[in-house]
Amino acid sequence: MNAANASGVHSILVVDDEVDACENLRDILSDLGYRVAIARSGAEAVEQVARCPYDIALLDLKMPGMDGVTVYRQIKRLRPETVAIVVSAFSGSELADRAVEEGAAQVVAKPVDVPQLLTTIEASLAQPLILVVDDDAEFCDNLWQILCKRGYRVALANSAEEARRQLATKSFNIVLIDLKLPDTKEGENIFRTVGEINPLARRILVTGFRDESVETIHRLVEQGVDAVCYKPIDVDNLLKTLGAR
């Protein structure tokens, strides 16, 4: 089950300062049914991502102004669920290594082997899409790092409002909800919203309050909560829970 945006079509942003390279990937990918946009510079790419989300960003590394790694860092800050695939004439370079460290899914060498690139794109889109709803920014960041390395695409929402916005634009496979957001009510509301908008998404509760919230948890489990994880999170346990279908 792939997660797509509301329209069901996957979107790809092609970023390269060489116009012909952009146009070619656009022609190839739109012919295959993807929605493709082009950015001729890093700044343009960041602007476009701020305006609307893309499932995948194909990033050239060496560009005037902003290099591909810097572009990815900024994209990540805006929409951390975006998959970055680096396309570079220097696939073995230090910059390429840094992109991978930052969380880029793959480095593809120029000249691009298109069938290989298509396989990479499909594999990226097959990665489960998770929404983490938690107002603790550091916890979100840690979770992002852990899950990204395990082959998940991770979107973050630090408020109920933001979570609702994200749920309206994408269909998620899994939603992790912190029950105290900032009060239990909000968490419960999000839990219901997910059920309404994304009925197929698995809902996992995260909570730091074992005793006080026992009742609420019982209630929510009856209503369809998939699993409950207690803070501090046991990472192995969480990964097992996420992997179980």
């Binding site: 300062d17 060489e18 012909d20 390279a21 146009e23 070619n24 990937l25 022609d27 190839i28 012919d31 060496k62 560009m63 005037p64 102004g65 290099d67 396309v87 004439a89 220097f90 060498a109 120029k110 000249p111 691009v112 298109v114």
Partner: protein, 388 residues
């Protein structure tokens, strides 16, 4: 360095210090007196080296030290007995070479020889019959000879070291070129390959789309070819053909070849009458083209490129003034070095080619720049005879 040259340089040194047959015979006469001391001196020589970790680290094992003792003995025997000919000089040369090979710091060659020199002098003083004048003369000759040896060792050390440095630099330059070429060639290849993929695999491709991709392939092949041309013309520049050249026409051609991108205005401030310059029209066109392109690259957010020309006496000056990002002071000295570039595109040959062409047509390039304000590239060209 070939053997003949090694010996010739040795002869020069001998002449320089005034080495004579008398010196040679005085040293040779001393040999029977120091011979018996030699084993002790050699032992002392290596014992001292072993006390210094930096020097000692070049020895692999005891067996090697034993072998070296044998060659040191040979070296001292040759020192006292001569003959001080080509073979002698080449042997000294080889010693220095060997030091570089094993990684011995050359200060140890000096220190070790100084120790040996003192040991030999002590042995000579102990054995010398009561004739102080003769002793002093013998010591002088011996010292001169050892100094000559040391000079020879130094000479080979420097030559070998330089050789190695050049080899390293050559490899580094090849690496730099490879990286530049990789980027500049793989990008056009990437377009060619993806266009080919589209043409072969596209499910729905209109005739216009197909024509577009074919044009793209052709354009990118040209681009890749230009990269190779630039590289080979830098490596082997074409010969200059000097004639009287009109700067205005040359500039006009260059601007047509490199039209400024949107947002950049070229302001031409050329006097109506300008003397012709003595130059190669094609290559001066390359110079102007490179400077225009660079100025445009320096103004990614737009700006003005003012091109001004004036003449005074034998010289005509063309200034290219941009309102771009400027050049960092520590980059200014390097901009004409080949393969130096701060840009994402290009190999860093433009200004290297520019300055090579200018020096061949007796022109000059002066660059001043202010970060954030812009740069001025001033080209000075010799006015053609009969035009001054």
């Amino acid at each position: 360095m070939d053997n003949e040259r090694i010996y010739r340089r040795y002869r020069e040194l001998q002449d320089y210090v005034g080495w004579s047959e008398d010196d040679a015979s005085r040293v040779q006469k001393a040999w029977p007196l120091v011979k018996a001391h030699l084993p002790a001196l050699i032992d002392d020589f290596y014992a001292e080296i072993k006390r210094h970790p930096e020097a000692n680290k070049v020895f692999a094992d005891e067996a090697q030290v034993e072998r070296l003792k044998v060659s040191l003995r040979k070296w001292v025997e040759q020192l006292f007995q001569g003959p001080y000919n080509a073979e002698y000089a080449i042997h000294r040369w080889e010693v220095g070479r060997r030091h570089v090979e094993v990684g011995l710091d050359h200060i140890f060659a000096h220190a070790a020889l100084a120790r040996l020199r003192r040991g030999l002098a002590r042995a000579l003083q102990a054995e010398w019959p009561a004739d102080e004048k003769g002793l002093n003369e013998a010591l002088n000759s011996l010292n001169t000879l050892i100094d000559l040896d040391l000079a020879k060792i130094e000479d080979s050390y420097a030559a070998e070291y330089l050789d190695r440095l050049q080899k390293t630099e050559r490899l580094a330059a090849i690496g730099q070129i490879a990286a530049g070429v990789a980027h500049e060639i793989r990008n056009p290849l990437n377009v060619v390959k993806t266009s080919a993929y589209f043409l072969i695999n596209a499910k729905k491709a209109s005739p216009e789309r197909v024509a577009e991709h074919l044009a793209r392939i052709s354009r990118q092949v040209n681009h890749a070819n230009d990269v190779i041309t630039a590289l080979s013309s830098f490596a082997k520049p074409p010969a200059v053909q000097l004639s009287s050249v009109s700067v205005s026409e040359c500039l006009k051609g260059a601007i047509e070849r490199y039209p400024p991108p949107q947002g950049i205005q070229i302001v031409s401030e050329l006097p109506d009458v300008l003397p012709k310059v003595k130059a190669d029209a094609t290559q001066l066109g390359i110079v102007f083209g490179n400077l225009i392109r660079n100025a445009c690259d320096a103004m990614p957010n737009g700006g003005n490129l003012t091109i001004k020309a004036s003449s005074a006496g034998e010289w005509l000056e063309v200034d290219f003034m941009d309102t771009g990002v400027g050049i960092a002071p520590d980059h200014l000295a390097k901009i004409t070095e080949p393969l130096f570039s701060t840009k994402a595109r290009g190999m860093g040959l433009g200004l290297a080619i520019t300055s090579a062409i200018l020096s061949k047509i007796s022109g000059k390039l002066n660059v001043t720049s202010e970060l954030g304000r812009g740069s001025v590239f001033a080209v000075q060209l010799p006015v053609a005879e009969g035009n001054r």
